[in-house]
């Protein structure tokens, strides 16, 4: 059952990831990215992180991607025109990527040859209580610093997008 669910979410994630990278229109890429985030949320549930799965949907798919979709609509971004890329990139691009992927996969298999499995319900430390406890005791300083970071981002975004009412 775990393997079936993993395969469903993983194949959805990979297909949506390919769509993000290959579609001409930015809106299609944005919606495919939302699909990736949704399937990753399902994978987080399988890995025993229910709070992060919900946070992924609320923050990433429900706020950040809405921002992307708004910007695409406001700028009326049309389809990308075909660029005159170099022939080298078109010939060696995909094989280079496959080589990078193979290298990463080989490194992973070298590091984790043990047949350790991930089972649903094998890790109970992802409850909101556990995460809240760790954030407010052990990781309190990074938490406060990220709140200031978000404040800086708000001020920066307002300053950049500010329009004088004249």
């Amino acid at each position: 059952m775990d393997a079936i669910l993993f395969l469903i979410f993983a194949i959805t994630a990979v297909v949506c990831g390919v769509l993000v990278v290959t579609r001409r229109h930015p809106i299609s890429s944005a919606l495919a990215l939302i699909g990736v985030m949704g399937s990753l949320a399902g994978l987080y549930l399988l890995l025993g992180a229910p709070f992060l799965a919900a946070a992924q949907v609320i923050v990433y798919a429900g706020a950040i991607m809405v921002l992307f979709v708004f910007v695409i609509m406001l700028l009326n971004a049309g389809e990308e025109r075909k660029s005159s890329g170099s022939r080298l990139a078109r010939v060696a691009g995909v094989p280079a990527l496959v080589a990078l992927l193979g290298f990463l996969a080989y490194t992973i298999f070298r590091m984790y040859p043990r047949p350790e499995t991930v089972e649903f319900g094998g890790f109970h430390g992802g409850t909101p209580y556990a995460i809240g406890y760790a954030i407010f005791t052990k990781y309190l300083l990074p938490f406060e610093i990220t709140s200031i970071l978000v404040l800086i981002a708000i001020v920066g975004a307002v300053v950049l997008a500010y329009k004088e009412l004249d």
Partner: protein
């Protein structure tokens, strides 16, 4: 085999998504699609963190993912504001056209 999935499968999936993000970042010409490829890379890394959090049976990986999400949100907000400003000044979203500082 039906009960439990090897941990390396999650890491392979994270690697695939990261590679797709790198491909989009390098090959696409639209600013917004490049930005979305960055978000795809960040998501792949999040999956990796949570897989390792399961492996070590500690919530620390999930907390790092939480912080990565917050940073990605801040970065998306400021980055999209920059994109809006670039569009206001150059009227184009192709990164080939904004490659030089000469207006």
């Amino acid at each position: 085999m039906l009960q439990g999935v090897p941990l390396s499968w999650y890491l392979i999936l994270s690697a695939i998504l990261f590679t797709l993000g790198v491909a989009g970042f390098l090959f696409r010409r639209n600013i917004i699609t490049v930005f979305m490829s960055i978000e795809l890379m960040l998501n792949a890394v999040n999956l990796s963190f949570i897989a390792f959090s399961y492996h070590h049976k500690q919530p620390d990986g999930q907390i790092f993912t939480f912080f990565v999400m917050v940073v990605a949100a801040a970065e998306a907000a400021v980055g999209l504001a920059i994109i809006l400003t670039v569009f206001k000044n150059r009227a184009t979203l192709q990164i080939d056209d904004v490659a030089s500082m000469k207006n």
